[in-house]
């Protein structure tokens, strides 16, 4: 069974691609899979009959007791046959139904095919959670299939209705599913049925599951989505909304009935709602002009009928229910396929415009007549056999004194009368010759092949009716799983029994009702509808929309400051109140840890206040930098060398990054930022500060036992082979954290790059352009800037590789010399830091940041071309390599049979670096190093190089603007920026620009 599902999965993924080549014939090809599944299922019949079931289990999440458990017993076998059989027929029918040019054909084929597989999974799943997953997938696929005509409002509306109703039911059901599996202590469906638990919890759980089942099977009050779903293409209606998906609810009830039919509420709900649905559906079906809607309401009615019989809970009812389920699937899908043919041929489904179809398409009329006869319960068809058994089962219960027997019998008998009437109306509407109606407007003769599908189904309906006694042997194991003795059997002729007379009476009354159809219509008009669920649905969704609009406006007006204020006010009120009433204040304080702390804190406090006070952005950034370096001092005094090192490096790079961006924004923000809501902001800010202080005091005061980190040093040394506890923790003890962190860094770096570069992160073209000799560019040399010294022998020698690319006015010889001298030592030190990090301060983060800082200065001295020369690799590749190394070292340990991220070591004494223990953690740290370098490189390339380029473009645009051209917006640049931006000769940047803009 799992194999079949896997094949379904693979083929459904491949279907859209197949559809490109095969067009509408893709349906014929993929239909082979359900056909194969049908044959396989059929062959299992003998084994299921003798052994009762076949099972298959694949372990999935053993810790949660979840398994991919499949089980095929008689009921599942019957459903699987219906699902695969009708599925094959419908897919074959689609080949004729759709033309080559149908838009979205591949998608449609894939969804319809996947649906067949999902239904097969649903009926064979033994794990109730697995079944629920298939259940939900059918809802989603149904949504996608109903909404196939995405351009049509009706189609979208119907799809959404179906989705909302069925997933609402599904969610309710999920609660019930979890409750019942907790009650039983197993998620196995067969175990749940066998356990048959009772008590209020079980009753609630089962009732919740029933909600799911009746929403799926379109039982009142959820029935309205099914007629609306007729907006789907007809094959979808035939398969999903007649044979398969709506049967899921029936299947679940039939599955649970052996264990739970006697639970209080079960019969009341299922028989009550079932009878009502049968009457409502049939009643409304009687007044439809649209043939498809006649069938749709008829299906609602028949689903109610099925719900009554499968929920009835006696062996005889179960047998009859299985028979009706089979009969209904066959005749209803036949009829839908017929409607599809009529629709295609005549261009309408409104019977008022159809006339004389019976004469034009006699074969189709015969097929329809057979299906209609089965639906109305006329011998010798399967529908008649099923109905006979149903009435027999109800009579048997009623005579035994069960009041539900009478309710079910009378209700379904009346419903059957209406069924006969609308069946006749359907046939008459579709095929009669009317003088009043206009002669069918345009008539396309449908291909004969399209008749094969419905024809086969109609013949099966006849054969199964005639040979119905043979069905008993195959179906009996299901009713025998109920308590009680199975008395009835399926047969065309039971003798002159009451059920026969009921059937005859129904046929007669139904015919009379059809005869008097004008009076019936008049009566229907006069009676107001008792329940109008679709209006109810409408007002519910409207109300939900209104409420969400109100909530949105209430909570999300005023942008970021408003959101922040909302969050913080809640934070201050809740935590502030708790802190005030908690009475857990610490009793002891220290004024300071060491005297220098006070000085550092004072400087930081002044810088903090200054950052808020100044209106100059650059000044504010530098003052924040002061607080950052204050942190460095605090860390250093406190005994945290790693933190001090990292913070110092980060602080420097942050300031550079700020400068890179701020140079482009207008420099003076004094007049621009209005100081709004100062009082309100101050209150919230002070409140937050006070509450945070209180939290810190309380948290510290409540620490009374030894922290778990007391063992960290020993663990680090003996298990992590490193003396630097912080570094060992990062790469070994808490390596999962670090793994998460570097993933965040990769995402951040990618985000930065994608915000700045529109077309790819790497601009290799620039590099190629740089290598090209300037003179070879021919006419472009005309454009060269006279300010720029050509890099020819005799000119001033450049200290940097791309020194000749920068206007001499922008060059700083001091910076160039410094960078030339310091770059390589800095890289060497960064690698040193990386490797000694395990035992002394350092490690991947600090090393990576130092290397990044070296790159920053290389960029500052030589511009973006220098940066390209310094690191010829794409930043994305660095990030990727880093992540691969880290993940690789993490997974690597799996191959040595240990847990993920556990480490292995190889120690040696290495000159200069000292005693080093190289292990998988070192590889992990190298990964961290690469990711950090990649991040800094991405920042420089994006916020540095790319911003430069955009600045150049803006400058060129400004120069080319004269007083007559429309005023282009060219942002101001502050002094710093104009000095910094390298002006580039012979336009490699212009080349870039043109290529980028393509």
């Amino acid at each position: 069974m799992a194999t079949i599902l896997t094949i379904f999965l693979i083929v459904s993924v491949a279907t859209p691609f197949l559809a490109r080549f095969l067009k509408n014939h893709v349906f014929t090809v993929v239909a082979l899979v359900p056909a194969g599944a049908f044959i396989w299922t059929l062959l299992q019949g003998e084994q299921i009959r003798t052994h009762g079931e076949i099972t298959e289990t694949i372990r999935w999440v053993p810790q949660l007791d979840l398994a991919l458990a499949f089980r095929m017993d008689t009921l599942a076998w019957l459903l699987a046959l219906v699902v695969t059989g009708v599925g094959t027929v419908v897919l074959l029918y689609c080949t004729q139904y759709f033309t080559k040019r149908e838009p979205g054909l591949g998608r449609f084929a894939a969804f319809l095919f996947a649906f067949a597989g999902t239904m097969f999974g649903l009926v064979t799943a033994d794990d109730i959670l697995l079944m629920f997953m298939f259940w939900e997938i059918t809802s989603v696929l149904s949504y996608l299939l109903i909404g196939h005509y995405t351009g049509k409002k009706e189609s979208r509306g119907a799809a959404l209705q179906a989705l909302l109703v069925t997933t609402f039911g599904g969610l309710v059901m999920l609660i019930g599913v979890i409750m019942i599996s907790v009650q039983v202590g197993s998620t196995s469906l067969s175990a749940i049925v066998a356990a048959g638990v009772t008590g209020p919890m079980a009753v609630t759980a089962i009732l919740l599951i029933i909600v799911g089942a009746i929403s799926k099977s379109a039982i009142v009050p959820f029935h309205f989505w099914l007629p609306a779903a007729m907006a789907a293409p007809t094959p979808v209606s035939a398969y999903l909304h007649a044979a398969a998906m709506v049967k899921a609810g029936i299947y679940l009830i039939a599955r649970l009935a052996p264990g739970y039919a006697d639970l209080p509420g079960w019969k009341l709900v299922l028989i009550g709602l079932g009878v009502w649905t049968m009457l409502v559906g049939a009643w409304r079906s009687l007044r439809q002009y649209d043939l498809k809607l006649v069938l749709a309401y008829g299906t609602v009615s028949q689903l109610g009928f099925l719900m009554v019989i499968v929920g009835f809970g006696t062996p005889d009812a179960a047998l009859a229910g299985a028979a009706l389920l089979l009969a209904h699937a066959i005749y209803k899908s036949t009829l839908f396929l017929v409607v599809g043919i009529i629709d295609h041929a005549a261009g309408t489904r409104d019977w008022r415009q159809l006339s004389g179809l019976g004469r034009k398409m006699p074969v189709l009329a015969v097929i329809t007549a057979l299906a209609i006869a089965s639906m109305a319960g006329i011998p010798p068809l399967l529908g008649f056999v099923a109905k006979e058994s149903i009435f027999g089962a109800f009579l048997q219960a009623a005579e035994a004194g069960d009041p539900y027997g009478w309710i079910a019998l009378i209700g379904t008998a009346v419903g059957s009368i209406l069924t006969v009437a609308y069946s006749a109306r359907f046939f008459w509407g579709a095929f009669a010759t009317r003088t009043a109606a206009c002669v069918s407007t345009e008539w396309h003769k449908p291909p004969t092949a399209i008749l094969i599908g419905p024809g086969v189904l109609a013949v099966v309906s006849v054969l199964l009716g005639i040979f119905s006694p043979a069905l008993n042997a195959w179906l009996d194991p299901y009713p025998e799983s109920f308590d009680g003795h199975l008395e009835g059997h399926l047969a065309l002729w039971h003798g002159f029994e009451p059920a026969l007379f009921i059937s005859i009476a129904i046929l007669g009354l139904g015919a009379a009702l059809f005869w008097k159809k004008t009076q019936v219509a008049r009566l229907q008009e006069a009676l107001p509808p008792l329940v109008d669920s679709s209006r109810g649905y409408w007002s519910v969704t409207r109300a939900v929309d209104k409420i969400s609009a109100k909530v949105t406006i209430f909570g999300q007006r005023g942008g970021l400051p408003q959101y922040l204020a909302t969050i913080l006010v809640v934070f201050v009120l809740v935590l502030g109140t708790l802190a005030a009433i908690g009475n857990v204040w610490p009793t002891t304080f220290r004024l300071y840890d060491y005297p220098q702390q006070v000085v550092i804190a004072l400087v930081m406090a002044l810088a903090t206040l200054g950052a808020a006070w100044t209106r100059k952005r650059m000044a504010a950034v530098l003052l924040v930098g002061v607080t950052g370096f204050g942190m460095v001092a605090l860390f250093a005094f406190h005994g945290a060398p790693d933190l001090a090192l990292t913070q110092a490096l980060v602080e420097t790079i942050t300031i550079v990054a700020f400068v890179l961006v701020l140079r482009r924004l207008p420099g003076n923000s004094q007049k621009l930022t209005k100081r709004v809501h100062r009082g309100r902001r101050a209150v919230i800010a002070i409140g937050t500060g006070v509450v945070m202080g209180a939290i810190a005091l309380i948290a510290l005061g409540s620490r009374i036992t030894d922290p778990i980190s007391a063992q960290l040093p020993e663990m680090a040394y003996y298990e992590g082979h490193g003396k630097n506890v912080v570094n060992v923790a990062l790469v070994d003890i808490r390596a999962w954290d670090t793994m998460g962190e570097i993933s965040v860094l990769v995402v951040v770096a990618t985000g930065i790059a994608s915000l700045l570069f529109v077309s790819g992160r790497a601009d290799k073209k620039g590099r190629r352009g740089l290598r090209r000799p300037a003179t070879a560019l021919g006419r472009r040399s005309v454009l060269s800037d006279p300010d720029i010294q050509p890099a020819t022998p005799g000119a001033r020698q450049s200290w940097l590789v791309s020194g000749g690319k920068i206007a001499s006015a922008n060059r700083s010889i001091l910076l160039e010399v410094l960078v030339r001298l310091m770059f390589h030592p800095a890289i060497v030190v960064s690698i040193f830091l990386l490797f000694v990090g395990h035992n002394s301060p350092g490690g991947g983060f600090a090393g990576g940041l130092l290397a990044g800082l070296a790159l920053v200065f290389r960029y500052l001295a030589g511009g973006r071309y220098e940066l390209r020369e310094a690191v010829p690799i794409d930043a994305g590749k660095l990030l990727g390599a880093g992540l691969v190394l880290a993940v690789g070292s993490a997974i690597g340990s799996l191959f040595f049979g240990s847990e993920i991220l556990s480490s292995a070591y190889l120690s040696a004494d290495i000159p200069v670096l000292g005693y080093i223990s190289i292990g998988t953690t070192t590889i992990f740290d190298i990964g961290v190093y690469l990711v950090v370098v990649g991040l800094v490189l991405d920042i420089l390339r994006s916020l540095g190089g790319e911003v430069d380029r955009q600045q150049d473009e803006a400058d060129i645009a400004e120069e080319s603007t004269d007083e007559f051209s429309p005023r282009q917006q060219v942002p101001n640049t502050d002094l710093w920026a104009t000095q910094r931006v390298p002006i580039v000769p012979d336009t490699p940047s212009a080349t870039d620009t043109r290529e980028d803009n393509r």
Binding site: K153, E154, S155, G157, A158, L160, Q161, A228, A231, Q288, Y289, D290, H344, R352, Q353, S534, R542, D545, A549, G559, L560, P561, R590, L591, Y592, L609, A611, A620, V624, H638, G639, A640, P641, L643, V650, L665, S669, L672, T673, R681, I684, A685, T688, G693, A696, I704, A710, L712, Y717, V725, V726, A729, V748, I752, L755, L756, L849, V932, I939, L943
Partner: protein, 165 residues
């Protein structure tokens, strides 16, 4: 365990000022506030390591008893680097916003687009769904037989029953 009051006060001040600055409408100011709050949070974690002591470098000797709690340091180290990444990302966002929105001389101060939104504006988002619902309802109603239905107008009815062909 007791706290250093100096650090607690400094932390509270940095939180208060940081939040105050964060609630301004300028994105750069927001980022400056964010950095202050970030530093304040690092101090908060830092406070949890108690008084100062020896660096967390294992020596095997008696000094190890005076080692500071390494766990807050581990957390802060992660926080510093993540903070840096997010700062750079917000910077890129600031630049991109300014560039795309063509704010020009307005710098990075975002206009307050949503301050005057009303419920009707928000409900507008659901209009499409509503229309879809209405459309399917109309089709269903059109198929109901009425006693006084006029002779069907072929064109009209054909359009009404155009569902799901």
């Amino acid at each position: 365990m007791s706290a250093s009051l100096t650090l607690v006060l400094l932390m509270s001040l940095m939180y208060a000022v940081g939040i105050y600055v964060m609630m301004e409408r300028s994105l750069t100011r927001f980022l400056i506030g964010f950095l202050l709050v970030g530093n304040a949070t690092n101090i908060l974690i830092f406070l949890m390591s108690g008084p100062n002591g020896n660096a967390p470098l294992w020596t095997g000797g008696p000094e190890d008893a005076d080692m500071v709690d390494p766990l807050p340091q581990i957390l802060i180290l992660t926080a510093i680097v993540i903070n840096f990444g997010i700062t750079a990302f917000v910077l890129a966002l600031i630049y991109r916003t300014w560039w795309l929105a063509q704010l020009g001389d307005e710098g990075d101060t975002l206009p307050d687009d949503h301050a005057h939104d009303t419920e009707e504006d928000a409900e507008e988002a659901f209009r499409q769904v509503d229309e879809d619902d209405e459309a399917i309802q109309r089709v269903l109603d059109a198929s109901n037989e009425h006693e006084d239905d006029p002779e069907p107008d072929p064109v009209q009815t054909a359009r009404d029953t155009e569902v799901g062909r």
